[in-house]
């Protein structure tokens, strides 16, 4: 009904097109799989070696002490669960809110390191100290991923998701 009303509206065509593009179930699915896969990939190295990840966090010179180890223990699992939730389509708003918040904090950390002139590796996907150094490209990348999280948070579509399948099964057993 809403779509029909929108299509009849004589003005604001571009806005409606953008709205339709964002509400398109296939676009939402693409965004979910894209962000979910990235989160899954990012979590693997960190889970495998929490100490190396803790070292990467310390390189930012923002946190130190036991809190770093706690973050290095928990954060990769948040990424893993959020990634799986997005790919399979469960708890999407929660996963999107959490990943958006994390990516926002990561962006601030990278920005702060850049402004302090730190020459460190990101620690984002690989814990290899010889991996790519942080730079403005990383800030851009994080901003885009935060925007994708926001998009998933606000998008209403849950088609092609486990949640959709489970809801339908409850309605039509």
């Amino acid at each position: 009904m809403e779509r029909m009303a929108e299509s009849r509206a004589p003005h604001g065509g571009e806005r409606i097109m953008l709205k339709r593009f964002l509400a398109n179930e296939f676009n939402i699915l693409t965004a979910r799989v894209f962000l979910g896969s990235l989160l899954l990939i990012a979590s693997i190295d960190k889970i495998a070696d929490p100490l190396a990840f803790a070292r990467s966090i310390e390189d930012y010179q923002i946190l130190s002490g036991p809190v770093v180890m706690v973050i290095a223990t928990v954060l990769p699992w948040i990424e893993l669960i959020c990634g799986m939730a997005m790919v399979f389509g469960l708890l999407i708003p929660g996963a999107a809110l959490l990943s958006g918040a994390l990516l926002f904090v990561f962006t601030l950390a990278v920005l702060s390191a850049l402004f302090r002139g730190l020459d460190i590796s990101c620690g984002c996907f690989s814990q290899d100290p010889a991996a790519a150094r942080i730079g403005w490209a990383k800030v851009g990348e994080n901003v885009i991923l935060t925007a994708v999280s926001a998009y998933l948070y606000f998008s209403p579509g849950i088609r092609f998701s486990l949640e959709h399948y489970l809801t339908n099964r409850e309605k039509n057993p």
Partner: protein, 159 residues
């Protein structure tokens, strides 16, 4: 329930699961927080000690002894502009690509890594990689190139 309340609850549930899984996994696997206190385990499971950080006086003593090999972890461009006299260039980013330099380093002499100074960590990271490659006497001159140059100690441009 509003969207925010729902997503907030879901986020909390994900975080609680992550805390339980994270602590359980590291406990069972003896990783991270639950790794042995005196040793740092690498991804491959080898046990290695952390590289020793040294001050300028000790770096200078090692330099004057003529026994230590100084390794410059900065980019080659910076090395060409100026480096500790006699230092070998081994940029951290090219560690894997320059394996011939790594294998040419003496294993029976102390190795001292350095980068620009306190604002960089590549000296520590390079030292860790060297220790993981089997070098046992690796030290980090953390104050690095800036301190060495400020003290007016021997430097060279691309040799």
């Amino acid at each position: 329930m509003t969207r925010f309340q729902t997503s907030w609850r879901e986020s909390l549930a994900i975080t609680v699961c992550a805390v339980i899984l994270g602590f359980s996994y590291t406990f069972v696997q003896e990783k991270g927080l639950f790794a042995g206190p005196a040793s740092a385990r690498t991804a491959s499971g080898q046990v290695s000690a952390a590289p020793q950080i040294i001050e300028i006086q000790e770096a200078l003593n090692l330099y004057q002894s003529g026994n230590a090999v100084f390794v410059d972890a900065r980019h080659e461009f910076d090395y060409k502009l100026g480096h500790i006299k006699g230092a070998v260039s081994l940029p951290l980013a090219e560690f894997a690509a320059k394996s011939e330099i790594v294998s040419s380093l003496p294993r029976n002499r102390p190795i001292v890594t350095y980068c620009d100074g306190a604002e960089c960590s590549s000296s520590v990271e390079l030292a860790t990689l060297l220790m993981e490659s089997g070098f046992t006497s690796v030290k980090v001159f953390f104050a690095g190139w800036n301190e060495w140059r400020n003290q007016g100690l021997p430097t060279a441009v691309k040799e």
